[in-house]
Amino acid sequence: MSIEIKNVNKNFGDFVALRDVSLDIPTGQLTALLGPSGGGKSTLLRIVAGLESADSGSVHIEGKEATHLPPQKRNVGFVFQHYAAFKHMTVAKNVAYGLEIRKRPKAETQRRVEELLELVHLSQFAHRLPSQLSGGQRQRMALARALAVEPTVLLLDEPFGALDAKVRKELRDWLRRLHDEVHVTTVFVTHDQEEALEVADEIVVINDGRIEQVGPPDELYDAPANDFVMSFLGAVTRLDGRLIRPHDIDVSVGGPPSGSSVHGTISRMLRIGFEVRLTVEPARTSTAAGGEVAGPGAQDEVAVVLTRSHARALDLEVGSRVWLAPNRGATMMPVIRAV
């Protein structure tokens, strides 16, 4: 295990940021800490980096006790959401910083800086100041700077949070490819489930200072441990008293299919690109629970997502009567808390 976190607690005054968190992060993987804002994921990352100290508990990095080590002795690379570029230094100087601090020979430093700038596609900007770069370029520079010291772990705190959607997506792909090249143990914090699902080998879902679930993206998506994980990893709706993903619902017209189904009318239809989003108001009857279901109301509305071609094939429009049923292998979960 590359990073071992044991029973870490952290409070900020009355606010409990982390409660008894234990986590093992394997070597060489790309791990995402995913969760809502204020859930404690950034705090955990900063504790690993030594930028914040835990109230209790321990952190080991590559088997070495690191709980009380100052950040400069941990050999971690840290990338900040707002880049933390050294504004008075050129891009090349920024990247060289860690090597100069370590008093590496000049020639070696220069060679390594050139290599890294090549890796992050910033070679032609070596002599610019950070203020002359775009957000995405600055963040790539920050990454090169963190990688320069050959850290045992690379920690990224919402690395793409300050960038616009298109650049964010590009950098996401690029981070994945970079990790495949460099293979350094990487942990990144994000509140964007798509980012986590797309980039990470393993996802740690953190909410309210606790770890809700740890696992590879597919496992989390297909078998969420609880309704929080399920609703955080993608849109959910309620069908017949259970949580289900809107695209896991089969829509049929012209009569109830075999098995349990909910009958209703389409009240809204919204097309976004290739997908069609339906809002279905269930009728006052229920096949499964025998009249248990209440009449139409906002809470009972079911959201359904299908492809455009499918919607066209079924000839759906507002006011159509449809039967809804979970499709085979759909992830479902009883409702415990309000979503």
């Binding site: 930028l51 950040p71 941990r74 840290f78 900040f80 050294f86 910083y97 920050a142």
Partner: protein, 276 residues
């Protein structure tokens, strides 16, 4: 239409401008220009006489020593206190911050008296021990440096604190995570970021220290050729009817301040350019 209504009628606008210019002229420009005029009333004679007077030479040298020492002390402590105030949380932080502004509001004469009470060799709490150790504070250069440093204390801090809080601590954290210790981080990251604020604070401190009169007069004892600074020379020469020398020394002090102001105004734009 809206902009036309927002503008005052022309006579009112000109009246307000003249009032502002007249105010500055009558209060600052004219009196100071008179000092220059009287200094050079007989060509360079007054200035050369003054510079030939050992009292004046000694006073100018002493002023330079006192002012530069006070600047050095306030530079080190000012930057240190600013970092303490911005980067660290500790009980009594707000009290300390308020205390730093005290020298701005307390009359320098009071500062001088307070220092005399604390450090005089007969009844002063520290003075007795310092005297026993052979260190003279009051009526001597250390006391004058202390008085000047006290009076100019807030100037560096008030320049540096806002800049430090604006740049935030992420760059410093990044530096730490890249392997730099606290001292390396300060020298390579923090100091370059606050450089201009420090320079500006130093220039202000220097101008303030050169012109300090009240506090220094109380602690120095005003002994000719020993503890008499340039401002004290101006007063004593003026009262001793050696007005030419008084004007000349006053002119030199004013010239030094003007140089400070010019330096500041040259620095100001470069500072704003730096931040853009």
């Amino acid at each position: 239409m809206a902009s036309a209504r927002l503008r005052e009628p022309t006579p009112v606008r000109w009246g307000l401008r003249l009032l502002a210019i007249g105010y500055v002229f009558l209060l600052v420009l004219w009196p100071v220009s008179l000092v220059v005029k009287y200094t050079f009333a007989d060509g360079l004679t007054a200035l050369t006489t003054a510079l030939g007077d050992p009292d004046v030479i000694h006073a100018l040298e002493l002023t330079a020593v006192v002012a530069l020492s006070a600047v050095a002390i306030n530079l080190v402590f000012g930057v240190w206190m600013s970092i303490l105030l911005v980067r660290f949380d500790f009980p009594g932080k707000r009290a300390l911050s308020a205390l730093i502004d005290l020298p701005l509001s307390v009359s320098p004469v009071v500062v001088g008296l307070a220092l005399v009470l604390a450090y005089n060799p007969r009844t002063g709490l520290f003075g007795q021990h310092l005297d026993a150790a052979g260190i003279e504070v009051i009526f001597s250069t250390p006391g004058m440096v202390m008085a000047t440093a006290f009076v100019a204390l807030p100037l560096v801090i008030r320049e540096v604190v806002p800049v430090l809080s604006e740049i935030g601590d992420e760059q410093e954290q990044a530096s730490r995570s890249l392997g730099a210790n606290a001292l390396q981080t300060f020298r390579r990251i923090t100091l370059p970021s606050i450089k201009w604020a420090v320079v500006y604070g130093v220039v202000l401190t220097l101008a303030r220290s050169l012109g300090e009169f009240g506090a220094v007069k109380v602690v120095s004892g005003n002994i000719v050729q020993q503890t008499q600074t340039a401002t004290l020379v101006v007063e004593s020469k003026y009262q001793g009817f050696d007005q030419a020398t008084a004007y000349s020394t006053a002119f030199l002090l004013a010239a030094a301040s003007v140089v400070c102001i010019v330096v500041v105004s040259l620095l100001r734009p470069s500072e704003s350019r730096d931040e853009s």
